[in-house]
Symmetry: C3
Amino acid sequence: MIGNNIQLDKNGNLKHFLTTEGLSLSLLQSILDHAESFSSVGERAVKKVPLLRGKTIANLFFEPSTRTRTTFELAAKRLSADILNLNISTSATHKGETLSDTLHTLEAMHCDMFVVRHANSGAAHYIATQVAPHISVINAGDGCHAHPTQAMLDMFTIRKHKQSLRNLRVAIVGDILHSRVARSEIHALGILGVLETRVVGPHTLIPKDVENLGVQVFHDMDEGLHGVDVVIMLRLQTERMSGALLPSAYEYFQRYGLTRKRLAQAKPDVIVMHPGPINRGVEIASDVADGEHSVILQQVSHGIAIRMAIMAMTMGRSPEDSEDSR
Amino acid sequence: MIGNNIQLDKNGNLKHFLTTEGLSLSLLQSILDHAESFSSVGERAVKKVPLLRGKTIANLFFEPSTRTRTTFELAAKRLSADILNLNISTSATHKGETLSDTLHTLEAMHCDMFVVRHANSGAAHYIATQVAPHISVINAGDGCHAHPTQAMLDMFTIRKHKQSLRNLRVAIVGDILHSRVARSEIHALGILGVLETRVVGPHTLIPKDVENLGVQVFHDMDEGLHGVDVVIMLRLQTERMSGALLPSAYEYFQRYGLTRKRLAQAKPDVIVMHPGPINRGVEIASDVADGEHSVILQQVSHGIAIRMAIMAMTMGRSPEDSEDSR
Amino acid sequence: MIGNNIQLDKNGNLKHFLTTEGLSLSLLQSILDHAESFSSVGERAVKKVPLLRGKTIANLFFEPSTRTRTTFELAAKRLSADILNLNISTSATHKGETLSDTLHTLEAMHCDMFVVRHANSGAAHYIATQVAPHISVINAGDGCHAHPTQAMLDMFTIRKHKQSLRNLRVAIVGDILHSRVARSEIHALGILGVLETRVVGPHTLIPKDVENLGVQVFHDMDEGLHGVDVVIMLRLQTERMSGALLPSAYEYFQRYGLTRKRLAQAKPDVIVMHPGPINRGVEIASDVADGEHSVILQQVSHGIAIRMAIMAMTMGRSPEDSEDSR
C-alpha cells in the first residue's frame, strides 16, 4: 500500500498531502503529534519559527477561497517561508498557457511547495504527478474529492477533547454527496479506528454505496445523533437550494438543522464541529454554534497548527529542528 | 472619562485607536513623541525595527483604499510584523457569514490587530466591542465619522513646523459635512489647545451646529484664511458634484479653491496641508500644491511614522524596546 | 554617451534599468557576472540573502502581468527586501490623482525602487525622470519599446550555453514589430558583439528600416534558421490574429512555427528560447518546446537571478556584500 502511494517518498515519509485515504495510522498520528508541537507557536509573543526560512511556497488557487488561503498563508509565514499568492483563474492560463507549462514555470522559479485549490476532483493529485521531485503538493480542496487538511484539523480537535479516537461515535451531518470534507473525514476516522462513523442527511444528499466506506447511514436526525460523542456539521452550499436536491432552507433546518433539542440526543459531553463559514439558522442554530458544546473556533486555531505540521513534514522538517536553527 | 473610553485599557494605556475624540492631551502628545522616534526609521539604510516581529496584523478593508492600506502595510512591515491583506467585500461575508463570525475566525487564527476601513460610521468601534481582549483595533476610516490616524499625522506635521500647537489658528476648508478627516482633526486640534479652529466651506457642506465642537464657521474663503497659521484642504469627493450639494467643479474652485492669491490672506509662514489624493484645479491650484508653503508630501512620510507609533503603542511596545530586541 | 544616459549615475554605475540600448559592453557583462553569483541562491536550502533587507520595492503594474510581477516579487524576497504590489490601474489614479502625484506619494513613503510595467512606450523612462534621486526605476516592459530584464536573462542563458556571445548567429522569430523583447534583445546582442542577429517573420510583422539596427531580415523561416546557434521565438499575441496583420494561427504555424524539421536547418547544438507563456502549436511545436534543444525553463530560473542582480546593482550593492552582512 505504501509503495504505490504517491503521497510518500521511498522511505515512507510524507512527500505530498493529497488525501487521507490510504495513509497509515502511524502517519496520521505523527501529523497530529507534530501539530501538537506547533499549536503552542500561536500562543507565543513571537509567533514564528525559522523552520522553512528561505523556502518558497506558492498558493495556487484555481478557485477562490479567502479563508483557506489565509490559513495556509499564515501557516507559511509562521514557519518563516516566503509565500506567493497566485490566483490562477485570473492569470497566465487565460493567455492560453497549459497548466503543465504554468507548473513547470513555477518550478523553474525554485518554488518548493504548491498549495492547490481546484474545482476539479483529482487536480492536486494530477499536479503531484507532474511536478519535479523536489516539489511538495498540498491539496487545499479539489472538487468533491478531498480536503485532507480540514479533516486532519478536525481529527486534531477531536483528539484534544477526547484523548483517543477509539471508542468514539462520530456523526457527520448534511450534504455528504458534495462534501470533500466529509470524504476526507470518513477515511481519517476509519484509519484512526473510531467505533462508528455515521452520515446523516436526506436521501438526495447521501452518496449511494457510501456504506462501502464503513459508515452507517441515517436519514433521521434524532436517530443519527443518538449517543454520539462528536457531531460534525457540514456547510450547506445554499446555491444547491434552488435545484431539486434540496427543499427550502427553512425545511432543511426543520429536518437537519442542529438545535439544542436535537443535540440532547447525543452524549452529554458531545462536541460540535463545523468547517465554517457557518450559515446560522440553516444548518446550525446560533445558540448551538455559540454554545458550550461548540469547538468551532478551536478548529480554526488548530487549522494553523495542522497546516504548519503538514507543510513542515512534507519539507522533511520537524518542530524540533526549529530549536536548532533559531 | 478615561474609565468609559473603550480605547484605553484599565491602566489608561492605548488599546484601540478609533477616534481622537475624548483622548487626553498627554496621550496625544505621547503618540506624537513616539512617532518622532519612528520617523527616523524611514531615513535609515535598513528601514526596519523588530518591535512587532511575530505579530499578525490583518488589514480588514471593507471599502477599498490602496493608499491607506499601503501606509498601514508599510508601517507593519517596518515594525517586522506579518500582515494579511483581506479585502472583505470580496470574501467570506459574501458566503453568508456574519461579520461577527468573520472576526472571531480571524481571532482564532491568533491575529493581534485589526486595521479596519469601513463605509459605515461606527464600524471600527463596533468591532472593538466584539473582539477578544488580546486584539487591538485601529480605525482606518469609518464612514463620515473618524479617520484618527490621518488627523494625528496632520498634528505631527503641524508640530514639526510650528513646534507647539498652542497659539495657532487653523482653517479646515472644503466638504466638512462628509469628512471623517475634518471631524477627527477638529477633536485633535481642540485637545492640543490651538487658539482657533475654523471651518470654511459652502452652507451645504458645513454641518449644522458644528459650532458646538468649538469651531468658527466661515463661508467666505478670504475671511476664513485671514491670519491663519495652517490651512488644511479637504479632498472634494467629485462624485458629490452631480447632486444638489455642490455647484460645478469650476464654480467650486472659484469660491473655495486654494490659490496663491487667496493664500496671501494667511500668515506669511502658513503651511498648506491636504490628505491626498489631490484634485488639482478643483480644491487646490497646482502652484500652491507644489509651492513653498505646501507640506503635503511630508504628511505622507509622517503617516508611516504615526501609524508605526500607534501600532506599537496599542501592542504595548515603545520605540525604545526595539533597541533591546535587535 | 555615458554622460547623457539617464540610466547611469555620475560615476557610471547603474542607477535605473530602462533599456539595453546605449549601455556599455562592460556594464552588460557586469550584470551577467552578478547574475552568475546570484544564480546559486535559488539552489540553496535557504534561498535568501540579506542584501536589500529593510529596502522597500514597489511593483507598479499599470498593466497586469502575473508572471513578470511574480519573478520580480521573488527576486525582491530572496534579496530580503519588503515588496509592495500595487495594481495601479485599479487604485489611486482612478480617483483623479495624476501619475506624478502617485509617484511622489510613494517616494514620500520612502520607497527605494519602482518596478514599472506600463502599456505606453516610454513610461518607465518618464517615471525615472520624475522620481527623487534616491529612487531606482526598473522597466518591466513598456508598450512596444523595451523589456530589458527579459533581454538580459536571455543573454545570460546564451552565455551559459555558448560561453562567449562573440561568433554566434542568433535568429529572433515572430512578431518583431510589436515586440519589446525583440527590441531589447537586438540592442543587447549588438553590444555583446554577436556575429549576426537575424529577424525572421512576415513582412507585416517586421518594422521598416529594422536593418538600421544592424540586423539581417528574413521572411523565409528555413533561410532564417540556416546555420544559427540560437533561436529566440517570440510569443504571438493571438489578439492580433483577428486583424489584417496576420493570417490564421494555422497558416502562421505553417510558415513560422518552429518544428523539428525546420530546426534541422540550424547548427546541431542550437538552443531554442522563448520568453513564455508559450502558445504550443502556434509559434512552436510541443516536441521542440520540450525537446533537447529547448532551454525555455532555464530562462525562467535565470530570470530570477538576473532580476536579483539588477535590483542589487541599482541599489549599489553587489553579491559579495551579502556575505558580510549575513
